[in-house]
């Protein structure tokens, strides 16, 4: 009787608690496995989508490059100026502060000269630029010769800041 009592108290009761914990661990592991499988499947699906849309991804890479790529921005501005029939007088590039999360900003100050209507066309083309341009501010000054104007734009081009740089920047702060 005593032996039975001791077995129940010292073995069966603690063992029941252990089994409860084991059941919970097993359920947690099963859940972890399911979540992990879904994560792997999601990565595979996303990878397939990315591979299938290679051309779009390349375009996306131009729209939001992983570096400042000031030279690409200048090429785009130059092409825009040509099609708008205005002249770029000067360009100054700098680095802006990251807007949100992993997004950085390349700031470009560009001075152009041309007819007022062409300057407006230049602004319109900026809005359709493959790499989205944020017009921070601008100033149009009449040159006094017909409709000729001198305009200075402060523009902001987004780019992707790598997670290492973001982490480094946060550590630095």
């Amino acid at each position: 009787m005593f032996v039975t009592f001791f077995i129940v108290i010292l073995y069966i009761v603690p063992k029941t608690t252990d089994l409860k914990n084991l059941s919970q661990r097993a359920a947690a592991k099963q859940s972890e496995l399911e979540v992990g499988r879904q994560q792997v499947a999601a990565i595979r699906t996303a990878t397939q989508l990315i591979k299938a849309a290679r051309a779009d991804m390349d375009t996306l890479g131009v729209a939001i490059p992983d570096k400042e790529k000031a030279e690409e921005a200048l090429q785009q501005l130059s092409a825009n100026a040509s099609s708008s029939e205005i002249t770029i007088k000067s360009v100054t590039a700098g680095t802006g502060q990251a807007e949100t999360g992993q997004s950085g900003a390349l700031t470009i100050t560009v001075s152009v000269s041309g007819d007022f209507s062409n300057t407006i066309a230049f602004i319109g083309n900026l809005e359709k630029n493959l790499r989205p341009v944020k017009v921070v501010d601008y100033s149009i000054v009449a040159s006094g010769v017909g409709a000729l104007t001198d305009t200075t734009f402060n523009l902001s081009f987004p780019y992707l800041v790598s997670s290492d740089e973001v982490a480094g920047g946060q550590n630095g702060q």
Binding site: V3, K15, L33, G36, A42, I50, P132, V135, L160
Partner: protein, 218 residues
């Protein structure tokens, strides 16, 4: 006479014998009952012990089963998840980059203002007898330096910009007569709501939602 005197003695002896027999029978019954009770208790204890042992064995079996299940899950997690995630690390990074690009693109497109439309509105609402000499824009403020034929035209030029939906306020900062040009130079300070010229980026947001793994993993 002799036989008559012996009869009560014989009866007494018989009674004593009967009493002893009854006593013995009672003892036997008691012994038997006690024996049976002890036997039942013994059976109960043996049964209880046996049941306890069986319970212990069942618990051990269940524990073993659970431990094996956990070990199997651990192995599956390693082969089907951990190893796969290590192997898919470059793809995962690429996916995260694409998602970040889409997020950045969405933000950039959402915050983009169609200044060409705004300029067209200002151009269309400029009073005919006035001209701009300087048009400066910064955030939600526009500063216009202009010339008009006279003060009335300068005032009309200021008033005409109020017809633009996005314009919140027009202040005539200064108006000065220019002796050289015989015209009136004026300066306007205009506040406007640039959000009315903002473009939306619904398509990009939709693409991001399709490609995002969070919808399945979270």
């Amino acid at each position: 006479m002799f036989s008559d005197n012996n009869q009560p003695i014989a009866q007494h002896a018989q009674t004593e014998r009967d009493a002893k027999q009854v006593e013995q029978t009672e003892e036997n019954i008691e012994k038997t009952t006690t024996h049976k009770t002890e036997e039942a208790v013994s059976y109960f204890l043996v049964g209880l012990f046996g049941a306890t042992i069986i319970s212990v064995l069942i618990l051990l079996g269940i524990q073993k089963g659970k431990e094996m299940k956990i070990a199997t899950y651990d192995q599956q997690i390693k082969t089907e998840v951990t190893d796969q995630l290590i192997a898919l690390a470059p793809e995962k990074k690429q996916m995260e980059t694409v998602l970040s690009q889409l997020d950045a693109l969405t933000i950039a497109l959402t915050s983009r203002v169609k200044y060409s439309s705004m300029m067209t509105d200002f151009e269309n609402n400029t009073f005919k007898k006035s001209l701009w000499t300087n048009f400066s824009l910064s955030q939600n403020t526009i500063s216009i330096n202009g010339t008009a034929d006279d003060y009335e035209s300068a005032a009309k030029a200021a008033a005409s910009y109020r017809n633009i939906k996005a314009v919140r306020d027009v202040k005539l900062t200064s108006a000065t007569s220019n002796e050289e040009s015989k015209k009136v130079d004026f300066v306007l300070s205009i506040t406007f709501d640039s959000s009315l010229y903002k473009t939306t980026a619904t398509k990009t947001a939709e693409t991001s939602a399709v490609i995002s793994p969070e919808s399945t993993t979270q």
